[in-house]
């Protein structure tokens, strides 16, 4: 196990890594956004005159976009500013830039908005108090509808010995990346460029170009060091405004959100309501019905993927003979839905795992054995007819079961131990490319992703190179390049960096090594080694310095260059099961089983994590310290979703807790010791059999914690977060009703 410091550690500790907030340019202006004060309204006017009257101020609104963009209209569905109707809280209505930040903020305040407030929708259950039904499905509030079924569901329910019906509710949670959005845009000589903090420079290029009506090649995006993304930096948010201001002012413009604005404007996951009905016969699940109502915010119709993707995680990795799943994404006047580390999967797992446990208890089965009896294993078939690949989740669940038993043997009163299972498909289908350059002294990896903090780019990709070439990491340099020079890559999301981009890197290395072997005239295996300060190629015939293998044509390229591409084929689902909407195939089958031990104060309802263990199928660990850190970080983030995190919206569409003081993420004081174990050998499609690890660690946490709270108190909670208030209320109710009815709607 290598414990060398991360290559970015010193830069970051010394403050030398340039983040979005550090961006400056000569003659730069400071930007600010004018946000809608209402969640829904008819725009009468956006009067910029008072702002423009301030010295040095440039202001742009909806009517300026066409002029600035030379008549190009961009994506008509996604104009930078609305012209008639405000559709969500904090929607940008204008942008200003000024020689100082104070002046920019003053100018933003000087913009006079006249908006007739319309009734806003902020609760999905107020739109469809009952299930939407045939009429509701055609409602303008529906962004997406998905429906699929397998088998004779009604008959199976009718034949069931027991049907358990439950409803679960979960709130929206914010990513809370350390760094808010920040960018600097310049427009000069017809060249548009923006430096920004993003998980996907190429994605920002595509997105911002589309919004502004630019050709992608006209826009250059350079990624900065990123202070965390977690899904919040997956698409263009502030970049189009900065570009418009730069165009209008003829000056570089820096636009950065305050952390409060980050909460207000950021795209993140939103609330959902899940109804789960399960029919059981002879100890087996024979029928399942899933009903999902998902808050899509003011997303655009047809762009929603969340309902179809999430609903699969409500069937989970469990064999189900017959099922019907139906989901609606509902339009509300909240900001559009966005990603958040394994979007909605922790919430789905909370609902499904709690429900599985409830079903098991009702039939007198052991909750873990009941899960194991239905859990997929390699070679079994998913609900949608895909064949399951190598899958370590059953082994992880067995390991968790043993750990839970060991902890139970030492359990003290007031404590509870719970298990949660999380399934995820990693290394999503999005593709990418990489270029490597071998010089006499180093191997340079050129690629288009910036390190976002997890280590997946700087550590993960160099670990792939190290493992394949034998070259020590200090001789491997990961060179970030902007969108004009880097090979294309889809981005750092979907737990794909090591698995998917890493495969492109591996292929580039393979191409490099075979060229080297060709030049050496060998057909055997070659490795790269350092001898006398220089990189040598070693084969069965001996070793030779790279210097001697380089040709004049290599010198102009700065070394021996090779490229690799990886565009993974997408899996197939059984389309005959789909009635409406889009469902998604899985790639690698990854997952984890977690064990939580909690203590619960029976009067205050306060839940405290005492210890925690995480068992993960990662296929193959590529870099042990980074892998372990990913799991620890995911667990911490999951503890937030489980216990304290919740975006609180008022009835008129206002985010009430838009600050780091009021939106409560865990601090180290709330984090227990976390034991991490990897189950290797269930190989995925990534390099050396690696599967992705960015998202899975957060998934089982709320489920595991809820299960532990149930064991400690007997309270079966069906709503997140498991706040002290909610637990105390459940306990109080439990005392008055000796056998709590788990299926009760809350």
């Amino acid at each position: 196990m290598s414990l060398s410091p991360r290559p970015d550690a010193e830069l970051k500790v010394r403050g030398q890594a340039g983040f979005g907030m550090d961006l400056e340019a000569p003659g730069m202006l400071w930007g600010a956004l004018v946000l809608s004060p209402v969640a829904h309204g008819r725009i009468r006017s956006v009067d910029l005159s008072a702002a423009r009257a301030l010295p040095g101020v440039t202001a742009v609104g909806a009517s300026d976009v066409g002029v600035l963009m030379g008549g190009l209209r961009g994506d008509a569905e996604r104009p930078p500013f609305p012209t008639e109707e405000v559709v969500h809280a904090y929607q940008p209505l204008a942008a200003v830039a000024a020689p100082s930040l104070a002046r920019a903020r003053e100018a933003a305040r000087a913009v006079r908005l006249t908006i007739d407030t319309l009734t806003s929708v902020t609760e999905i259950e107020s739109v469809f108090p009952d299930w939407p039904g045939a009429e509701g499905a055609r409602s303008s509030h529906v962004l997406a509808h998905v429906l699929a079924r397998r088998g004779e569901v009604e008959e199976a329910f009718a034949d069931a010995e027991l049907v358990v019906r439950e409803t679960y509710r979960t709130p929206g949670v914010h990513q809370v990346a350390l760094e808010p959005h920040a960018c600097l845009a310049e427009v000069a000589d017809g060249r548009w460029s923006v430096r920004t903090t993003t998980q996907t420079p190429f994605g920002i290029r595509e997105d911002a170009a589309s919004i502004l009506g630019l050709a992608e090649k006209e826009l250059l995006v350079e990624g900065m060091w990123v202070g965390g993304g977690f899904g919040g930096k997956n698409s263009a948010l502030i970049e189009p405004y900065a570009l418009l201001l730069a165009k209008a002012s003829g000056r570089p413009v820096r636009l950065a959100l305050t952390y409060r604005e980050e909460f207000l404007l950021g795209r993140t996951t939103l609330p959902m309501v899940v109804r789960l009905d399960t029919g059981v016969r002879n100890g087996r699940i024979v029928a399942r019905r899933v009903r999902l109502l998902l808050d899509g915010g003011a997303s655009l119709p047809g762009r929603d993927f969340a309902a179809g993707y999430s609903i699969g995680f409500l069937l989970g990795p469990y064999a189900t003979e017959s099922f019907e799943v139906e989901g609606y994404a509902v339009r509300t006047n909240r900001p559009p839905f966005g990603a958040h580390r394994a979007p909605l999967a922790p919430q789905c797992a909370f609902a499904l795992e709690s429900h599985m446990e409830e079903v098991a208890r009702r039939i007198g089965a052991d909750p873990v054995e009941f899960r194991l009896a239905h859990l997929w294993s390699e070679g079994s078939t998913t609900s949608f007819g895909q064949k399951v690949g190598p899958f370590g989740l059953p082994a992880a669940l067995r390991a968790a079961q043993r750990r839970a038993a060991a902890w139970r043997a030492e359990r003290v009163p007031g404590h509870g131990i719970g298990i949660g299972v999380g399934f995820w498909s990693t290394s999503v289908g999005a593709g990418g490319e990489a270029r490597v350059r071998l010089t006499p002294t180093e191997l340079v990896l050129q690629q288009g992703e910036r390190e976002i903090g997890s280590g997946s780019v700087l550590v993960g990709l160099s670990a792939v190179v190290e493992r394949r070439t034998g070259l020590p990491r200090e001789r491997i340099r990961v060179d970030y390049q902007d969108t004009s020079t880097a090979p294309f890559d889809s981005g750092v999301f979907g737990s794909r960096t090591v698995g998917a981009l890493g495969t492109a890197v591996l292929r580039a290395i393979e191409a490099l090594l075979s060229e080297v072997a060709r030049r050496l005239g060998t057909e055997g295996e070659v490795r790269l080694v350092v001898e006398a300060g220089e990189i040598h190629v070693r084969s069965e015939t001996g070793s030779k310095p790279v210097r001697e293998l380089l040709r004049p044509s290599d010198r102009s390229a700065g070394g021996l260059v090779a490229e690799g591409r990886h565009y993974p084929p997408s899996g197939k689902i059984d389309a005959s099961l789909v009635v409406d909407g889009s469902f998604y195939a899985y790639h690698d089958f990854a997952g984890a089983a977690h064990v939580a031990e909690v203590s619960v104060d029976p009067e205050t309802g306060t839940v405290r994590l005492e210890r925690y263990a995480a068992f993960h199928d990662v296929g193959r660990v590529v870099d042990w310290p980074s892998a372990r850190a990913q799991v620890e970080g995911g667990v911490v983030m999951g503890i937030g979703s489980a216990l304290t995190e919740e975006a609180i919206w008022s009835g008129d569409g206002r985010l009430v807790n838009a600050s780091l003081l009021d939106y409560r993420i865990p601090t180290l004081g709330e984090v227990p010791p976390i034991d991490v174990e990897f189950l290797e050998g269930f190989e995925g499609a990534g390099p050396f059999g690696a599967k992705g690890l960015g998202e899975p660690p957060i998934i089982p946490v709320p489920a595991a914690v809820a299960s532990a709270v149930r064991e400690a108190t007997g309270a079966h909670l069906t709503e997140l977060p498991l706040s002290a208030e909610r637990v105390a209320r459940a306990l109080k109710r439990g005392r008055t009703s000796p056998s709590p009815d788990g299926s009760r709607d809350r």
Partner: protein, 328 residues
């Protein structure tokens, strides 16, 4: 978020400070540790053009078992083992204020005079503007209890309840001279979230005086909050008593974090003077205090829950402050 420009004054004596007070007549705020005032300024909450920094006024610094200077840093008090031993409720309260970083700057005076808090007040200018502002800053109505007269912002200091049960007095200096009053009288029981103090315009908190008679009482401060590592109190209960032959005397109880000002409940503890404070008595006292406080929905936890927690916290604080074997 950024601070608007302000003029900083740094007087070096109370007299100099009072001269400034006359000159600036109301257009200033005192600056102590700055851990609460400056974040509020960043949100443009009742910003003044002048700040009178108190860090150079020597008389306000330092602390002993008798006297806590208004500018004494919480972290310094926290390290004083004599103080912690003699005033255990204060010791608990010191540990529970925010984080070590905040306590390194935060002061005794700042904590006692900390601005009241509310969901509708502690928000950015934009957020408040979008709602038409509120009584406490820039507006004319309350959004917590819709009306235009009374502000319900919550007192959120931790030290006050602990010092109230220590019978502390405060020394004040104003343009018209000095005075010394019981700490409870610093807070305006007939005021609200805005008119929360009885200080005269420009009057300055110089020090807190701890009477010798309060030393050595058994005490406890329990704080309700979402994250034990950080948050402002949603409720703070301080208790103190002296024990002799299994009987409690000098019984004191104070509650903060629940209403617009911290207060003592002498009318409820008085009848228990000399009792054994058995479990039934503690339960009854807790319920009586819970009936007497009126939290509103302007902090993170719901008022219902906070109120139920009053009885739990009162009972627990007293039970934990009983000597071993007492309460039977």
């Amino acid at each position: 978020m950024h601070l608007d420009p302000f003029e900083l004054h740094r007087p070096s004596s109370v007299e100099e400070t009072m001269a400034l007070v006359r000159e600036l007549s109301g257009r200033f705020d005192y600056l102590a540790g700055g851990t609460d005032l400056l974040p509020n300024y960043k949100m443009h909450l009742n910003v003044k053009g002048h700040l009178v920094a108190l860090d150079r006024v020597g008389e306000l610094g330092g602390h002993s078992l008798d006297r806590l200077g208004a500018m004494a840093r919480l972290a310094d008090l926290e390290r004083d083992s004599d103080l912690r031993r003699e005033f255990p409720a204060l010791s608990d309260a010191l540990d529970s204020v925010a984080t070590p970083l905040v306590r390194a700057s935060g002061t005794v005076g700042g904590n006692l005079l900390v601005e009241t808090r509310c969901f509708f007040f502690n928000q950015s200018y934009f957020w408040r503007a979008s709602l038409g502002f509120c009584l406490k800053a820039d507006g004319d109505r309350c959004h917590v209890v819709p009306q235009k007269e009374r502000c319900y912002a919550t007192f959120s200091g931790d030290l006050a309840p602990a010092l109230l049960v220590s019978d502390a007095e405060v020394e004040l200096a104003g343009p018209s001279g000095r005075r010394r009053v019981p700490l409870a009288e610093l807070y305006d029981a007939s005021g609200d979230g805005i008119r929360r103090l009885t200080l005269a315009p420009g009057e300055l908190l110089v020090a807190v005086h701890l009477p010798r008679s309060a030393r050595g009482r058994r005490g406890r401060y329990l704080k309700l909050r979402v994250r034990p590592s950080f948050d402002f109190p949603e409720l703070g209960v301080a208790v103190a008593a002296r024990w002799q032959d299994g009987r409690a005397t000098e019984l004191r109880l104070a509650v903060g974090g629940a209403e617009t000002f911290p207060r003592r409940f002498d009318e409820l503890t008085g009848p228990l003077e000399g009792s054994a404070l058995d479990d039934a008595e503690l339960r009854a006292l807790g319920e009586a205090v819970a009936r007497a406080v009126r939290p509103v929905h302007n902090t993170f936890l719901l008022p219902d829950y906070r109120r139920r927690m009053v009885s739990v916290y009162v009972r627990r604080a007293l039970a934990e402050a009983r000597p071993p074997g007492a309460g039977a």
